[in-house]
């Protein structure tokens, strides 16, 4: 890449107002053909808003957008697509009940006098997927595939439109590293074809690996545009946060005392398993330790957590709690025993969108207390305000509906829900996904402070570095099977990777 790359899209002093808020304040932004341009900023900096303005989801309240030097005013995402701007979102925006092939070609199916040519469509879809090095059955429902595959399908769809500009809004947040590499290969290929790519991600490694140029936003304002190779990481973070990195890097203990092995186990799984979910496994969770679960997406991490929390019924084995066999057939049972589970799918399984922050915080605690012993309004507000302060949740007040908060802040509210329960054992499934660096560090700190209080935490994350940093013990999963447990000094990224990658069981 070089400075001579022609400017493909230019946004000039784009402004977007929401009731009472300036979401984008005269932001300038430009994307060049044949370049990967990273858009960086914390949660709520205005990245998503900018993208939605570019794709016509929101009408802009001021400024100009030029595409190939001509002013455009996209009215809908469909319109933007016609103009040449395709978007892939973080949450897969496809139709899970339709086939993979249909999802790629929906709206532009090959037809013959108005009749959809299914065979041709399926063949085209297979070709499109194989261009991304994915050989899957395109005639199966999209919903039967993992999120990662669904993401790839979304990219296949976006690329196939013959777009000039491809916007990838946090496409990697649910991909494992292998898939990320596949994606990057595709991105490089597209780049060489002269496509402009706008790339949004929270993973600094990825930004530095793939992007040519970085634009940083903060609080709806442009901080600046930089060439990636000229911007050191620390400086990038400082620009995003508006404060020095050191303030949140310190205080992260690298490891907790390893004498946790001596403490009695809270929970023991004995040959616990469920068909099509996870092969029978043994697992112990002890007081005051962080047990990491590592493995690729779909390796059985979430399934393990669901079994331990009583969401799914195991068809083999048993769970022992404090040495006694326990019957757990619902989350309510698990909560009654002092367990908590912060699920990976925040939108579908976490938040109650229309309810307030306050109500979302107290929900699990109230459920465990039963419906008769109701917290007074005052007590509720007290509790909610405590966590808003403790977790630094950005919200106007405790009575704001949670759907009005940004993703990261919703995640913190959910954490607060479980912390309010004061659980002995907390399962955190991807608690840091899609949230910014500062919040991530906050959560990691929180995990450590929990186990210092003698609580047990099960930590599931796709970021190995995070798992390594936080865990006393790591269980590695592969192909729906627990393959190894690492303790003490064994815990490092290399070992985990090697375990995951080894082909024999």
């Amino acid at each position: 890449m070089n400075a001579t790359n022609p400017i493909l899209l230019q946004a000039m002093s784009v402004t977007k107002l929401f009731p009472g808020v300036v979401a984008l304040d005269a932001v300038n932004f430009s994307a060049r053909a044949g370049e990967v341009h990273a858009l960086m900023g914390e949660n709520g900096a205005g990245k998503s808003t900018l993208i939605k303005v570019l794709t016509g989801f929101y009408p802009r309240d001021g400024g100009q957008i030029l595409l190939d030097g001509k002013e455009i005013r996209p009215k809908t995402p469909a319109h933007a697509q016609q103009l040449g701007i395709s978007t892939v979102y973080q949450e897969v925006n496809l139709i899970p009940t339709l086939t993979v092939a249909e999802n790629i070609y929906l709206g532009r199916e090959p037809t013959f006098f108005g009749k959809i040519r299914w065979r041709r469509l399926n063949r085209l879809a297979e070709q499109a997927m194989s261009r991304l090095n994915l050989h899957i059955d395109v005639k199966r429902d999209l919903g039967s595939y993992s999120i990662a595959i669904q993401q790839m399908v979304a990219i296949a769809r976006a690329v196939d439109v013959k777009a000039k500009l491809l916007i990838l809004d946090e496409p990697t947040s649910s991909l494992d590293s292998g898939e990320v590499q596949q994606l990057f290969a595709i991105m490089r290929q597209l780049k060489s074809l002269g496509l402009g790519i706008i790339f949004v991600s929270h993973f600094l490694d990825q930004i530095y690996e793939i992007s040519d140029r970085i634009t940083v936003l903060r609080n709806g304002k442009l901080v600046g545009e930089y060439l990636t190779r000229e911007l050191p990481r620390v400086e990038l973070i400082t620009k995003m946060m508006g404060r020095e990195l050191a303030t949140f890097e310190t205080g992260l203990a690298t490891s907790v005392a390893s004498d946790s092995d001596l403490k009695p186990p809270i929970l023991e799984a004995k040959r616990l398993g469920k068909r099509n979910a996870i092969e029978p496994f043994d697992l112990e969770v002890r007081q005051g330790e962080v047990l990491g679960l590592a493995g690729l997406l779909g390796s059985g991490r979430t399934e393990t957590a669901r079994l331990l929390f009583g969401i799914d019924r195991p068809d083999k084995g048993e769970i022992q709690i404090d040495g006694e066999r326990a019957r757990m057939i619902s989350p309510a049972d698990a909560i009654a025993r002092g367990f908590g589970f912060c699920s990976e799918d925040r939108k579908a399984q976490g938040i109650i969108p229309d309810l307030t922050v306050r109500e979302n915080v107290i929900l699990a605690l109230q459920a465990s207390k039963g419906w008769l012993r109701f917290f007074s309004r005052r007590k509720q507000t007290e509790l909610a305000n405590h966590y808003i302060k403790a977790l630094n949740i950005a919200t106007r007040d405790a009575d704001t509906p949670i759907k009005n908060l940004s993703g990261g802040n919703q995640q913190k509210v959910l954490l607060a829900r479980w912390l309010a329960l004061d659980p002995r054992f907390l399962i955190l499934d991807e608690p840091t996904r899609g949230i910014d660096v500062g919040a991530k560090a906050d959560i990691q700190k929180l995990i450590l402070s929990l186990c210092q209080q003698g609580k047990a935490v099960m930590f599931i994350s796709s970021e190995l570095e995070e798992v390594v940093r936080c865990s006393n013990r790591v269980a590695v999963l592969r192909d729906r099977r627990k393959v190894r447990e690492l303790t003490g000094a064994e815990i490092n990224e290399h070992n985990i990777m090697a375990t995951i990658a080894r082909s024999d069981a």
Binding site: F18, V21, G220, Q349, I351, I352, L355, L363, K403
Partner: protein, 339 residues
């Protein structure tokens, strides 16, 4: 970060107005219908004292809204969990029929309170049946309650195929009596509303119901027994329908298995929706449903009082309903704000 907190995360859903504002449009619609009558229907607002109680069209509106208001209270909670109960009309018939039969039949001759409790009991049983089907067998609510909707009138006819006259004076008081000059039915509605309101405010039931309606999976993961909550609301809806059935039987001094509660389910659903509760579940407003019931009854009474021709009745009703709902629709309001 404050930027994010105020910006709507999901643009398609407009920000919901604060709770107190939800009532604004229904109340305005009600006031509009009353204002229309004030201007064009002479005597509509005329209230006099006859035989020691108040008498007038407005009193009729309050009194005749009671069955829809009662079933509407139950329906509100059902709709708040994202469901719907089509069986309230037939449950009314079953409860009314059983109560009057137990009191009047020579075989039983039960006392009025026991007979009423039996009627309420069977209504509750109907509600529990619905609740089990929806909550535990997990049948879609429309279909689950359709079963009792279809067969319920048959059950009422089995209890007794005849119109039963209720001679009991204390029983007649429930629907025809007056308290402080106002129909006793109003007192029943207020009582039920207060009990439910207190239960929802002073216990966590309201919170749980809204959670289940808004995001059932998340509610379950948070440890709420969503099946039980569903069982609870359908049972309660059955109970409310039972009260309504007894009130109607008492008002007519007669139990009619064929016609009691005919089409009440539609009026009840309308009342709830006009009152600002979304059919998708989640946030609900009990007062709103009462206002909705009053709107429907005010409309009916207006149509009758003004002597609208029979064949035009339904058209007028439909136009008013669409009008009220349009008034509440944010999209429609925006249309006028721009001008």
């Amino acid at each position: 970060m404050t930027v994010a907190s105020a910006a709507p995360a999901t643009p398609k859903q407009p920000r919901r107005a604060p709770r107190s504002l939800v009532l604004l449009w229904p109340v305005l619609a009600l006031l509009f219908i009353l204002a229309f009558n004030l201007a064009f229907t002479p005597g509509f607002f005329h209230v006099e004292v006859k035989q020691g109680h108040l008498f007038g069209s407005l009193i009729d509106v309050l009194k005749n809204a009671a069955p829809v208001a009662l079933t509407g209270i139950g329906m509100t909670l059902v709709i708040a969990t994202g469901g719907v109960d089509l069986s309230v009309g037939t449950v009314m018939a079953i409860a009314g029929q059983l109560t009057v039969l137990l009191m009047e039949s020579e075989h039983y001759h039960w006392s009025m309170p026991t007979a009423c409790f039996a009627g309420l009991g069977v209504a509750l049983a109907c509600g529990i049946w619905n609740g089990i089907l929806v909550g535990y067998v997990q049948i879609q609510p429309i279909v689950a309650t359709l079963i009792l909707f279809v067969s319920g009138r048959g059950i009422a006819e089995l209890i007794s195929n005849d119109n039963l006259t209720a001679h009991s004076v204390p029983f007649q008081y429930l629907g025809r009596g007056f308290l402080f000059g106002l129909p006793f039915q109003i007192a029943i509605v207020i009582f039920v509303l207060l009990v439910v309101g207190l239960l929802m405010r002073r216990t966590a039931a309201g919170l749980f119901i809204e959670s289940v309606g808004n995001n059932p999976v998340a509610a379950r993961f948070a440890g709420i027994n969503e099946r039980f909550i569903k069982l609870l609301v359908y049972s309660f809806s059955g109970l409310c329908a039972g009260i309504a059935g007894i009130v109607v039987a008492s008002n007519n001094a007669n139990a009619d298995p064929h016609n009691t509660g005919l089409n009440v389910e539609l009026d009840a659903i309308l009342a709830v929706v006009i009152g600002g509760t979304s059919l998708l579940g989640g946030r609900y407003s009990l007062i709103g449903s009462i206002v909705g019931a009053l709107i429907i009854q005010a409309m009916d009474t207006t149509i009758l009082t003004r002597g609208v021709a029979v064949e035009w009745t339904l058209v007028v009703k439909a136009v008013v309903v669409v009008g009220v709902c349009l008034l509440q629709a944010p999209k429609f309001q925006r249309l006028f704000r721009r001008k």
